[in-house]
Structure formats: structure tokens, C-alpha cells
Amino acid sequence: MKKKATYQRYLNQFGWMCVAPSIVLFCLFMLYPILSSLYYVTRRWKGMTNTFIGLGNFIRMGQDKVFQAALGNNFLFMLFQIPLMVFLALLLAVLLNQGIRRFKGPFRLAIFLPAVTSLVVVSVLFRVLLQENGMLNNVLIKARLIAEPIGWLNDAFWAKVTIVLAMTWRWTGYNMVFFLVGLQSIDPEIYEAAEVDGASKARQFFRITIPLLVPVILFSVVTSTSGTMQLFDEPNILTWQGGPANATMTAALYIYRQAFFVNADFGYATAMSYVVVLISGIFAFIQMRLLGENRKAK
């Protein structure tokens, strides 16, 4: 009995020792920055000097239309990009799972490649293609689909479309992989039973495949939501610093520019980060609740 207690203590100690490195690193690189942000957020920073302004940074945010428009862009991208991407990812996953038997490997690779390619490199190419007299416009004009060249990078509306398309290009394959795994875990017997009962393929898809994939879809939506809240690369590189005229400015990009480019105002940047974290948290909470209820229903 006594011996068992010492062994238990030994296990405990050993366990703590094993996690100690990660705890130390966590404290150093996560806990300390989070705690110090509480100090930053109450101050106006100007390089090496700072002054206490209480809630001043949040009041400033309330008047900062650039930040508000940036947050609005985040919501807009979320609203259009996530449904588009989930739909395409689902479609591709079903096609890969059933339709395409040959060249499955290369096909999967081609679709997954954008997720692991550096956007910095690709955007150089994209920008050439998307200029007013770039290849894309030329092709569309030759095909008589459009009469006037489209300002993919130069027009406020079309630049937003460009961002949505670029994000979809980059992340569809990544999400498709989850759907593919989800599809493969559905028991074929369910489909066989449905077939015996005379259900059409379309009916099987909407009544069996989609309901059984709901957890995967929700997972994909939750991760994409938090990803879109932090959207940075595409507007920074592809449409160049949130251009044209801030039309594709996002919260994360604006925060970065306030801290490291325009002002070196780390207090204001921290305050805006708080708001972004809060919004992401609310979204995640709502989506988790939906996921939870869905589970209960089953």
C-alpha cells in the first residue's frame, strides 16, 4: 500500500518533469506576452516612450473608420468565402471519393498543393495575371465574356473578389482532405440499405452523406472562421497592403501596420487585437454550441 503511494508520487513527479519544458516555454512565449498586453493596452506607445491613457485606445477604435472598415472586410470575406470553399471542397471530395478512379494520387496532390505553397512566391505570378491588361483579362475579352478589362487589383469591388478567389484557391484542397476522410469513414452498408429502399443518388447525398458529414463541415467552418479573422497574407501581398485604397484592408493587417509600419503604437495595436480575439471567441462559441446541439440530436 505504502509502496504504491510512493510509486504514484514518482509518476506524478516524473510527469511534471516531462511537461516542464513546454510549461516553461509556454510561460515565456505565451503567458508573459498575454500578461504584459494588459499593461500595453492602457497606454499610448510611441517607440520607446509611452503614456497612460486608460481606455483611450478603445475610444480611438470607436472613431477609427479604417479599423471598422477593416473588420467589416473580415466579415465580408467570411460570409462569401467560407460557404464557397466548403461547397467546392465537398464537391471535390465526393468526386475524388467516387468518380475519379484513375490518377487519384496526382489529382489529390494538385488540389492540396496550393495550401503548402508559399503565397509570397505565387502572388508574383498572380499579380502579373491579374493586371488590367494581364492574361486573365485578355483571355476573358478574347472569349467575349467581358467587354472592358476588369480591375482585379485596382477596383475596390473586384479586389475583394480577387481576395475571396485567392483564399478559396489556397484553402479548398486543405479542407477537402478532411471531407475525404469523413466520407471514407461513412459505412458503405448505409448506402446499400438506402439503395435497397430505392433512394436515388442525389437523395443519398443529401440525406446520408451531408448529415453524416456535419461534424466535419462544422470543424472546417470553425477553423476557417478563425483563419479569416486573422487574414493577413493575401491582402498584404496580393492586393498590396490592403489596396486599392484600403478596400481589402483587414484587421490583422491594420494591426500589423499600426505596430510595425506607420506608428510603432503597440498599445493601440494590442487593444485592436483584444477586439479581434473577442470576436473570434464569440464566433467559436456560437459554432461550438451548434456542433454540441447537433451531437445531442443524434
Partner: protein, 435 residues
């Protein structure tokens, strides 16, 4: 026994991790005499510093000078380093003249006062020294000038049935330029100017040529001037008459001028390298003085765009060496140094602002690459003397962005009038700076 051992291993692992993390932050002891320099353009300032290093190494063979091309986010990396009291910073960095006031204000002790180190600033162009001066301290070594001109394709002018010689060396007004542009456009279909629609440079060139200022003496915004309104109106006219070939992004702009899309562009002497990088441009370009907006008092046929200077960080571990490199090569008029200035002018179009260097042979030599062998450097240098001074302030970048955004929206009809465009720029500036 076994327990002790595993505890010891775990502790050792922890220690190793933490020490590793700490060690990677600081730098090890300096064994060699080394100076690290950050700049950003391999064909221009990186190249120039490499030439300077070669000159310096002849007299000081033991010194290693590492020149790093920091094309991406150099300012962000410098701000991170300054916030961390110099960790990760090089010894020397190149700053844009319009950028440095922000750094000198936000980080007052981060740079070495080079006046106290004995640099003679009367030897440099005065307009370069202004932005790097705070009180009686002067922090930088001026590098290049951004003296501007109107670059024109003579072959397109000829194709329009006009004689380029009629324009050569002439102080043009913008109405004459628009007339020329319309004729070229009518005959060749080429817009007169390649224009980067998300960029502020061309507007800045025009406003500065009028002697106008973006800021008042007290540092507050000054967009409600006659000079600024007239410049915006000119841009709108160029835009509406189809005389601008619009691209988005810097590299795409360079691409545009090197792919026969337009009959010219308005920019500084440092474009020489990019124009020469395409052999087919040979003999085609000529550069005339920056055109003038009529009816603005104090306007000149000269302006400036860009230009940067070298600075030494106080955090440098090899400060004396870094200062010596800048001072003994860039700020001392020995025959070797003057030849160095002469070389970088010819090879990279880097026109120094060290006044004694301007007697070099390449400052007056004809350049066979240009139309009728125009002595390009001589012309740019002569225009440089007439450039009206521009006040930058620490908030130049938010002003630049706000004005560029309002201009684009005005071009695209999203903003109806010049007054609304000015109001929009003022509002964005106020929001972004929080002032």
C-alpha cells in the same frame, strides 16, 4: 536510482531547452572585426555599398563587411529590433529620407550622432541633411539624390510625326506635355505615362515641383493649398484624357515601362538602372526637366523623389568601425573615394549627394544609351540645384497613404470633387495617426 536518473534527464532537457532559447536571442562573442549593413536593392544601394566596402577593405583588409539585402519588411524588422533595445539589429542600415524622422522621434537614443564623430556636413547637399538633423545633432550619411525628370520615348514621339529635338532640354509646362501626350496617343495609341495607381510618388513629384508642402511648419497637415489642388486637378485631367497607363504594384510598373506600354514616365535618376536593364531601350529614351504647373508661385522645373541615407545604430557592438566605414569612404574626398562615387553613378545611376564627388568624369560624360547621347547625369545634377525643399515630419507615411487612397478614389469617381478628396485624405490621416 532509476528515478533519480530520469529526473536528472528531464531537468537537463528543460535546462537545455531554456538555455537554447536564451542563447539564440543574444549573439555570441565577436571574434572577427565585422560590420553588418542592411539595405534593399541589389542593383542599387546594395551594389553601391559593396563598392564602398571594396574601397574600405583596400585600406583595412582585416575587416569583414556583410551587406544584407532586406527586401521584405526592413522597417518592421528594424522596429522589432529597436523595441528590443537593439537585439538582432545590424551595425548600419539604410533609411529612406522620408522615413527617418519617424525613427529619430520614436527612438531618440537609437542612432549615433555623426556630427559629434566629426563628419563635415557642409560637404553634402543641404536638403539631404535637414531630415536627419535633430537640434544640434546630425545622425546620417547622405547617400543618393532623387532628382527627377520626365522620361520620354523618342521613337513614339517620332511616330506621332513630331521632332523629339523640339522638346529636348526644354522647360515644359504641363499643358505642353498634355498636348504632346494627346498627339502621341492619337497616332500610336500609347498613353504618355506609365502610372502606378496605388502609389504616391508621381503626385509627390508634382506637388514638390510647385514648392508646395504636405505639412505646415508646426507639423500639422497642409492639404488645403492651391499647389495641392492644382496638382490633383492635373492628375485627374491626365487620367480622364487617357494619358496614364495604370498598373498596380511597383514591380508591375517596372515591367510596364520595359514592355512598350507607354511613351514615358515621371521619375527620378535612379530609374537609369531599370531602363538600362533592357537592351532594346537603347537610343530611345530622353529625359527632359520635370514639367511645370502654370500659375503657382514658387514652382520650378525640378523635383525630387526618393533618396536615402546611412545610419549607425547606438546598439552596434562595433560602433567605431561602422562609423569609420561611413566616414572614411562616403564622407572623405580622397581620389579613390571620388572614383568610387564616379563608378556607382555610371553603373547604377546612384548619384551621390557628397558635393566634392560631383566633379567626377561621369557627371558630364555623354551617355550613348540615351537619345543622341544625352549627358543624363549632368542634366539631373543641374536640375537638383533647383529642387524645392520638402518637409517630411514623422507622419509622412500615413499622410502618403491617405492621400494616395483619396486620389485613387477620386480617379475612379468614388469621390466627386477635389474638396471631398482632400477631406477624405484628412479624415483617414487623423484616424490612422490618432492625432
Amino acid at each position: 536510482m532509476k528515478k533519480r536518473l530520469s529526473v536528472a534527464i528531464a531537468m537537463a532537457l528543460t535546462l537545455a531547452l531554456v538555455l537554447g532559447a536564451v542563447a539564440s536571442c543574444g549573439s555570441g562573442p565577436k571574434m572577427t572585426d565585422k560590420v553588418t549593413v542592411w539595405c534593399w536593392d541589389p542593383n542599387f544601394n546594395v551594389y553601391a555599398m559593396k563598392q564602398a566596402a571594396a574601397v574600405y577593405n583596400k585600406a583595412n583588409p582585416g575587416v569583414t563587411i556583410e551587406i544584407v539585402d532586406m527586401a521584405q519588411d526592413i522597417e518592421a524588422k528594424i522596429i522589432s529590433g529597436l523595441q528590443a533595445n537593439g537585439a538582432g539589429l545590424p551595425d548600419v542600415a539604410l533609411f529612406q529620407d522620408f522615413r527617418i524622422e519617424q525613427f529619430l522621434t520614436d527612438y531618440p537614443n537609437a542612432f549615433v550622432d555623426l556630427k559629434a564623430e566629426g563628419v563635415d556636413y557642409s560637404q553634402f547637399a543641404a536638403y539631404k541633411v535637414g531630415p536627419m538633423t535633430v537640434g544640434d545633432k546630425v545622425y546620417g550619411i547622405p547617400f543618393d539624390t532623387g532628382s527627377t525628370g520626365l522620361w520620354l520615348r523618342t521613337d513614339y514621339i517620332q511616330a506621332a510625326g513630331l521632332n523629339p529635338d523640339a522638346y529636348m532640354g526644354k522647360n515644359l509646362t504641363w499643358s505642353e506635355v498634355i498636348e504632346l501626350g494627346e498627339q502621341v496617343k492619337a497616332k500610336t495609341g500609347k498613353p504618355l505615362l506609365a502610372y502606378q495607381s496605388d502609389n504616391f510618388d508621381m503626385l509627390r513629384i508634382v506637388v514638390q515641383s510647385t514648392g508646395g508642402q504636405f505639412f505646415k511648419e508646426d507639423g500639422s497637415l497642409n492639404l488645403r493649398s492651391d499647389a495641392f489642388r492644382k496638382s490633383l486637378a492635373l492628375f485627374k485631367e491626365l487620367n480622364d484624357k487617357g494619358l496614364l497607363y495604370q498598373v498596380v504594384g511597383w514591380s508591375d510598373w517596372i515591367n510596364a515601362i520595359n514592355s512598350d506600354t507607354s511613351a514615358g514616365f515621371l521619375n527620378a535618376i535612379w530609374m537609369v538602372g531599370s531602363v538600362k536593364s533592357r537592351p532594346e531601350n537603347a537610343g530611345k529614351y530622353m529625359v527632359v526637366p520635370t514639367p511645370l504647373i502654370e500659375g503657382v508661385a514658387g514652382a520650378a522645373n525640378a523635383s525630387n523623389n526618393g533618396g536615402s541615407s546611412w545610419y549607425v545604430f547606438s546598439s552596434s557592438k562595433n560602433k567605431a568601425r561602422a562609423v569609420d566605414l561611413l566616414k572614411s569612404v562616403w564622407a572623405t574626398a580622397t581620389p579613390e573615394n571620388l572614383e568610387f562615387y564616379n563608378t556607382i553613378l555610371k553603373d547604377a545611376g546612384a548619384m551621390g549627394t557628397f558635393l566634392p564627388s560631383q566633379s567626377g568624369s561621369n557627371y558630364t560624360a555623354n551617355d550613348s544609351f540615351f537619345y543622341k547621347g544625352q549627358a543624363l547625369s549632368r542634366d539631373f545634377a543641374s536640375w537638383m540645384a533647383n529642387v524645392p525643399t520638402l518637409k517630411y515630419t514623422p507622419h509622412y507615411v500615413p499622410m502618403r497613404d491617405a492621400v494616395a487612397h483619396a486620389t485613387l478614389n477620386y480617379f475612379q469617381g468614388k469621390i466627386a470633387t477635389i474638396d471631398d478628396a482632400i477631406a477624405a485624405a484628412e479624415a483617414e490621416y487623423k484616424q490612422v495617426t490618432g492625432n
